[in-house]
Every structure is written in structure tokens, then in C-alpha cells.
Point group: C2
Chain length 354, copies 2
Amino acid sequence: MDADKKITTLAEIGEFALIDRLTKDVNIQNKSTIKGVGDDAAILDYKDKQLVITTDMLMEGIHFSLVYAPLKHLGYKAAVVNFSDVYAMNAHPKQLIVSLAISSKFSVEAVEEIYEGIKLACNKYQADLIGGDTTSSLTGLALSLTAIGETKKGQTAFRNTAKKNDLICVSGNLGAAYVGLQLLEREKKVFAESNVQPDFSGYEYILERQLKPEARKDVVEALQKDGIKPTSMIDVSDGLSSELFHICTQSGVGCRIYSEKIPIHTQTAKMADEFNMDPLVCALNGGEDYELLFTVPVKQFEKIDKVEDVSIIGHITDKTEGLKLQTASDHLVDLKAQGWTSFADHQEENADSK
Amino acid sequence: MDADKKITTLAEIGEFALIDRLTKDVNIQNKSTIKGVGDDAAILDYKDKQLVITTDMLMEGIHFSLVYAPLKHLGYKAAVVNFSDVYAMNAHPKQLIVSLAISSKFSVEAVEEIYEGIKLACNKYQADLIGGDTTSSLTGLALSLTAIGETKKGQTAFRNTAKKNDLICVSGNLGAAYVGLQLLEREKKVFAESNVQPDFSGYEYILERQLKPEARKDVVEALQKDGIKPTSMIDVSDGLSSELFHICTQSGVGCRIYSEKIPIHTQTAKMADEFNMDPLVCALNGGEDYELLFTVPVKQFEKIDKVEDVSIIGHITDKTEGLKLQTASDHLVDLKAQGWTSFADHQEENADSK
């Protein structure tokens, strides 16, 4: 925030005025939103459509640090990670509900910045902000968002429906958000020890992937335009290995992916190198990429091969073959389900997987 | 928890096993739930019905204290307060989404107890637990629940549709949860200072109202059975004054309520007396009663008068007359919109209003 901006304490404004201030410029964009903010509940009407609903909770110190995450980016990311789950169902986000717990040390303007980011994401992804809860916290900031999306019956993509021989595809590139986080953590430490201002030049892309990720609306739209319905789909929030583990376990299949097919951005590779990490491990276990991992029937090879920014990284195998990574030197390595390690120390656990 | 129960740390079990353990006995009860736990999002199909959606966030130290709130009760209450919002729309809860942030000092068994309470409430109110997020917290426990309910077009009750001359009705009785909290706070202090075990005998009702409230499913069902559609409705979470303020402001009307008509339980009156508080003030500003406050056309007087456990406490007036309380001595007093004071000190603010 600018130093000369007006600062209003939460205590002096109170709940009702705060909610008014946060929601006064919220406009409804979707026909399915009958009533948004302002009553005990919002009202939706999906008529002949089905709806998907998903939620994510972000806790200060676990999922973000206010030291380096600007509040507006934080709000934006919180919304985007929920929209990403909606796209991972092959659906389109339509509504968003926001719950926010903040300590009283926060100013109204700080809360408004978080909301600015949320509204920006809502506008970009055409979702209506329809309600929520704003309360206080004795300790850190907590954000809990719930997104609702629209899907046609039969169009929804699940995790448990991958079939043997399907091609495994992933959008964009992997590992960038993870190395971006490592860079932020390193610079935070340097700043704390020596007060040297961080220099991020040359690493703008990986920082943006960590601080202001996007959901792959474009990929879902491209697939629908090209008549490709994924046989299974999931978004990459915990890392490629973990998401493959979900798809394979739930579908009762195995998989084989090829290390040289896994898309990695040059900045990711360079940054990993600086940290003496294997870029491939960052891509496999990094998490927070919010790319889409999906499978398509092998007969759709030509179609999927033409879709922009999608890589074919392997194929689904029989369950008995397990989950395998074929390395550049043709070795077969077991993929480990890294899972999500929030209950252990998040950063350390990720680092351990090097 | 029993001392001899097995204790499993969250770190040793990990996310996937924890989710399995928490959701393995979740059964789907509603036709509108197409898919629950287990994918990026749940899927719902409301066909020709509309849906209402509401969320509430509960933070340790603000909304509850683990010193006196048993975990199972906490889970139960967290679900019920959301169902109460659904009923306040004249709708019926069908699905529930649960996000939970817990510090790693919590055991798996402790999380299971919270879920036990949530599932108990889901079973009682026939809602399906369809998903959520379980994550860690560096500090306190945070619970964020989102409930989805079903309503027929035209049946929904809003806050902004009360009409002049409508009767103002409230279910059950008011102030009990608030004095229950005062009692718990007092006994907590006594215990901390002198190690004297609390004696709650004679006050079981007000404790239950605080620790294990119920949503007024029965009242919504009774009204629907008797063909009464409230012209406006809200649930009493912040206190009668505050809810009347919402209805009147949003409807552009005034109101007059009568102090001797406001239903107060004998235990509430007795407890308030012990604390040298006016029971009426507890009823007006106490909050957490989760009763339904609603208005009906005056021509429905005879019908509503017969509905069990509903009191007529006043009527809607012209906006120019403001919000008034007529005392037993026939004085007219302004009702103050107490609002919700979470950003100031919750307990002190409530006490100030005495």
C-alpha cells in the first residue's frame, strides 16, 4: 500500500460497513446467480446444468507469507486456485464465496486490497462474488474460498476414469512455482540478515508463477473447441507425481511418463541449477503449478498434438506395471506419491525430496 | 477424548490417509448430490429447483475456546450454524463442505472428533458431506463450512421484503446462548484461579444452547405445513436487535416490539440475574441463539398464533417511526443495531451493552 493512503482500523468501521465497502462494486455477470451478497445465503439456479463445487483454505505461514506475498496477489491467487479446481472438472467457474479471518491489526484498506485481487480474478474468469463471511482472527490471516462452476451432464472430467493406453497430457510447464518460492524464501532470508534489497531480474516468470498463478481456462476452452473430452483430469496443485498417483489409484491403472517430455521453463531450470536441485524433481514434486494434467484416448493423438501449450508426457498402463518414470538414459524409476506435506514442515519436506 | 484412546499424529498419517479416514463412512442421502468427496470438486444437480448457499468461518479464540468447547460439539455447532442460515432462507440443507485448518499438535483422533460432530449434524439435518479442504495452521484451529440448500422458486424468504403492518415473530427463546457463554467464561476463570471444578447443575439448558445449538428445521417445516410463507426471515446469530436492524434497513421499514413479548427461558433470566444483567438486554444483544426471526402478513395472525414455539413480538411500522422497543412501563426506547463486534473485543463489547 502507498504510505499516504488513508488507514482505517477494522474496529472503527465495524462489520456491516466493512461488508458494504468490500462488496459495493460487485456486479453479477452470470444468469445462474439469482441473488448474491446481502442475505443469509446466496441463491443460484442452474436449471438443466449440473454444478461443481470446490473449496480451498489458505493459512498465513503455511500457504503464504505476508512478507513477500502482496495482499492483492494473495487474493488473486486464492480465487485462481479454486477456479483451477473447477476447470479440472472440465467445468467453468460461475460463482465465488469468500471467507476471511483477519487480526484486528489489519486495516480496512488491507482487507480491500485482498478483495481487489479476488475481484480482479472474478472479472478475468467471469465468476460472480456472491457472499462469504468476514471475521476476526487472534493470530494469522485465514482465507477460505468456495467456487461453483457449471458443467453439462456427461461433459465433466473425473479423476477415476483414465483408461489403459490413454495419452497423458499436461498444460504449460511444471516446477516454476516451486523454484519461485525457493527464490522468495532465499531473498527473505538475505534481507533479514543483511537488509540487502532483493534483485529478481531475470526471474520474473517464476516469481509470477508463484505469486500470481493463472488457471487454465484457455486449455479447457481449446479442448472443448476441438471436441476433445479428457478421459480424466486433475489440476497440478501438489506436484505431477502426486496428481498422477491420484489419477492412477482412483482409476485402477498404472502409468509411464518420460523425463525428457516433461515441460520445464528455462527460468525454472536455471533457478533449480542455482539451488543445486534437479529441475525434474522440482517439476515432479514442486506443486502449485495449477496446470492441467489429463488423459485422452490414444486415437485423439493428432488432435491433441495440435493444441497449443499442451505436452504429451506419457501414457496410461496396466495397473500391474505401477507408476513409472522413464529417464533420458532409459532407466525406469518408480514415481513416488509425494502427497501433500502440510502437516510436516512444508518447505523442508519439499526440499527433502531433492 | 478418553485417555486410553489411540493417539495418531497428523504428520505420521498424511493428507490422503487422513481424508480417507474422515470420509470413509460418509453416505450420500440426497438426489441432488451427484458426486461428493474424492475429486477436484463435488457435483450437484438441482434440476428445476434453486439452491441457496451460505458460509461461516469459526476461529479459535474468537468463536470458541477449546478449553470448554468439546471438539464433537464444536463440529456439530459449526454445521448447525450454517444449516440455520439455510433455514433462514426458508430452504432445506442438502450438502455441506468442510474446510479445517489445524495445528500439527492436533491428533488425528481429535480431528475425527470434530468430524464426528459434523457428521452427526449432517445426519440429523439430512445433509450430505460432499467435500472440503484439510490443512494445517501455525496457530489456532480454523473451521470454514459452506452449506447448500434447496428451495422452490418463489418460496425463498429474504431479508428485504418485510411489509408495513406485518407481524414480527421469533421462534424459541432468546439470550440463552449468551448467558451460557458468560457462565462458561466465569467457570473457566474460577478453574484457572482455584482449580475448583465447575458445577453447572441447574444450568444445563443454557449450556446446551451455547455448546450444542440446533437449527429450527421444525419451525420451517411447521410454517410450510401450515401454508405460511414468511414475508421476510433471518436467523438470530448476532442478537435480536441486530437482526431486526437488518430486516428493517433492507426492507425500508420500521418496527415496534414489546419487551414483555420477548421469549426468555427461566434459566436465562436466573443466570442473567446472577450476573446482574438485564435478561432483556441479553435477549436483544446476546447472539448465537440461532432462532428464526420472521415476519408474516397480519391477516395470518390466527394461523401463526397456533404454531408451536413461535412468539409474536411486535409488528412492522413505517420507516419514519424507526426501530422501537416498547417497555413494560409503556416507554418507547430506540433499538440499537448492536451489530457484530468481532473486531473489537467480543466479550467486552457484549458486556458493554448491558
